[in-house]
């Protein structure tokens, strides 16, 4: 019925997730870290949708909608934080933000 199986989606999702994770771990720019987080989220979404299709159930798709909604809200909050941090210190290098060091 469907020429493409589930595996390619999962592999793509894995690649995207790894890219996002590496971005989060290695980038210094807060916005880029943020974007990487979004990438990871969407990788997860892709995996969910793929498995939902595999099993023919709608749960995974519904779950994806929730994840997107929450992600949108999170972006709004996160960007606001970043803007404020920038105003405060003229930098969004996350390595500069280490006041909480023990």
């Amino acid at each position: 019925m469907n020429p493409i199986g589930t595996e390619p989606y999962v592999i793509l999702s894995m690649v995207l997730f790894l890219l996002g994770a590496l971005g989060v771990l290695m980038r210094r720019n807060a916005i880029l870290v943020f974007m990487s987080v979004e990438l990871m989220l969407n990788a997860a979404n892709l995996a969910l949708v793929a498995f939902a299709r595999e099993w023919g159930q709608v749960d995974g798709q519904v779950f994806v909608f929730f994840v997107m909604t929450v992600a949108a809200a999170e972006v709004a909050v996160g960007l606001a934080l970043i803007v404020n941090i920038f105003r405060e210190r003229r930098s969004i290098n996350i390595d500069d933000l280490q006041q909480m060091r023990g």
């Binding site: 989060v24 771990l25 290695m26 996350i94 390595d95 006041q99 060091r101 023990g102």
Partner: protein
Amino acid sequence: MENLPLLVPLVIFAPALGAAINFFFGARLEEKWSGYVGCFASLFSFVISLLLLTYVTGANGAAAVVNPPFFDGWLRIESVGLDISWQQRVDSLSVTMMLVVTGVGSLIHLYARGYMHGDKAYPRFFAYLNMFLAFMLTLVTANNFLMLFVGWEGVGLCSFLLIGFWWDKKAPEGWKNSNAARKAFVVNRIGDFGLLMAMFLIFWTFGTLDFYKAGELPNTEAKYLVKWREHNGLLAHVEDKDEEAKDSGQAKEYKCAPATAEAHDDHADAKSDANPLASDIRALHCDNSRFENDMLGVFGQTSARFGQGETVDFGGFQMAFDDVIVLIALFMLLGVTGKSAQIPLFVWLPDAMAGPTPVSALIHAATMVTAGVFILVRSNVMLWELNHGGYVIGLVITLVGAGTALMAGYIALGQWDIKRVLAYSTISQLGFMVAAVGIGAYVAAMFHLVTHAVFKALLFLGSGSVIHGVEHGHHHAREHDRHGHGDDHAEHHDDEEFDPQDMRNMGGLRRRMPITYLTYLVGTLALAGIFPFAGFWSKDEILADAWHEGFELNELSGFIAFGVLLAAAAFTAFYMWRQIVLVFFDKPRSEAARQAPESNGAMLIPLLILAFFSLFIGFINVPKATPLFDGIYHAYEFKYFLEHSLVSVSRGHSLDFNILIAGVALALGIVSIMAAHRVYKGKGLASDNRDQLEAGGASAPLFRLANARLYWDEIYSALIEQPFNRLSRFLADRVDWDFLHDYFHDSLIKRGFDTIGELLSRPFDLGIVDGAVNGLGIVVARAAEWMRRSQTGYVRFYAVALFIGVVAVILLMIMPFIQIMLQSGA
């Protein structure tokens, strides 16, 4: 009418409220208003007492027992069966006392408004006076010994406060006042110990402290009761019932209904029973034999159990019931000697004259000091049983009373202080009452109590008026002197020496103070027992009863009482006339007396009222067959009134007027007065301000002995006070300071403590305890120092940590699958 006894709590409440108002708000009230509050409270109680009198006379003498609201179960410890309620008793005896206390008390309140005018502690004075009334009325309306004791101690407290009322005067005077107050308190404490012991014995023996239980009849033989029963056909009725009861063997079926007037009774109850106190009347036709012993009060049990050969178990030992009653009576007598100023505890009363004169009149003459006589009369059942059981307790009481009467009368002959003469006179008259109780003449004792309260209050208030006048005269004289000769230092020094109470500074006041003089004369004649003044009747009744007891019944106590009291009565007339002559007759002996003004109306009106009653109060108990009085007035009115409360009255004697005794007593009084007149009139003082008796050779040592008050104080000082002081000094210096403080405390305890403390503090506390606690702290600090390095502050570090953690968790979760894969692969 039947509900009238329910008013009796107000009798106490009104003066208590007055005291509270004057105490808490007195400073903000005007002098006038705090006086009004005090007088109103007192008069209110008097009116209630009159209403209660109408009840008692209207109810055929039936006593009412009232439980005031809020006081239910006043003292109740269920586990030991102790249940003492705050019960007030309205019977003829308590109503008599209430009328005396509130009647004389009200007049003295009115008088005090004038006497205390301008005193800076005016509201405090009225607060104390009202408080005294409240406690005194608690005492006389009590239906149990504990409540009586509350009043007893309360009046003692008020007496203390009022004797020392002027404690804040300048140095010697203030000390004298506060010492007198303390003396009164301490001496009374000895008496209170006696009363307390009597109460303990009573509770142990009878299991109750109630005088009579509700519904119990004190005197089933009272004349009016018998008449009333005959009239209503109840006597026969009762006998019928008795027969029935005996036949059926169920005597308890006809038990008397309790005649309690419960204050919190609702009206429904009252309606169903037309007369809520009718149970009292119903009680009339049952006698107390229908009660079980343990349902009776103290006195009912006494008459039921006395002479039955019972024993009382005191745990360690046993004692015959009759002997316990003797002990109770003796301990009670000790209490009486304290409060009623008898030998050997009378020494506080003369010193108590340091208080303001209205206080001396109210507390130390008319009311509080009669509490002892009252408690003896209240306990007449015990004394009656003892006297008729062959015990000599009556003789002991007679000896105490008659001895006191004679001794105090003799001392009064040699006193110079106008109030001290009256104080010794009071002691002497209280001796008359106690002696009357001793010979079993309880009505005579109460009668003398009533008349004495009236005329002695009159005399004290009169002496207050005299002192007031002389004090004012002294101020006048000093002013005059200043204007005349300028300020003379020698004269000024003399001022402070001037004693306005010393009769040597008086004389000739008859013209300056005519109304005071006339009323004082009435009081003197009443006290001296001159016909027809009040004292004549009451003293004559005591003497007649003593005569009867001694010469007709051959009782030793009667002989002693008759002889000694007759002599004391002669002394009474002599010292009172000496006082009249020294104060009012002849020429003034000081400038102060020459210029003394008459007192104002506030003080004179009570004097006039009291003088009126001193003349007429004696008619309440005129003996039978008295010439002039026979037929125009009821004979023995007071006696028949009291017989409902006193068991012994109807069993005792009811004597006709004995013209011989009355004549002898009257003649003796008149002779004494004439003798005093001859000695003092027109002569004033002998040389060196000495008394005429002191100047005359033969009588000089006698006078000096009386003047020195028979050295009672000195004897007590040598016998009790000085050994006591030596003992306490020894205990303080040697035992407490040298031994306990220096040796035991400092050497033993302190050094031992120091050693142990040293041991505990350094090695143990500092070493082990502190080491453990500090060590723990150091370990924690080191660990934290090491662990804090993990917190770098780099976001990426946390992210890596998180990532590694997630990977680890995932690996852990898929480990089984990996194992399966590996196995299958292998």
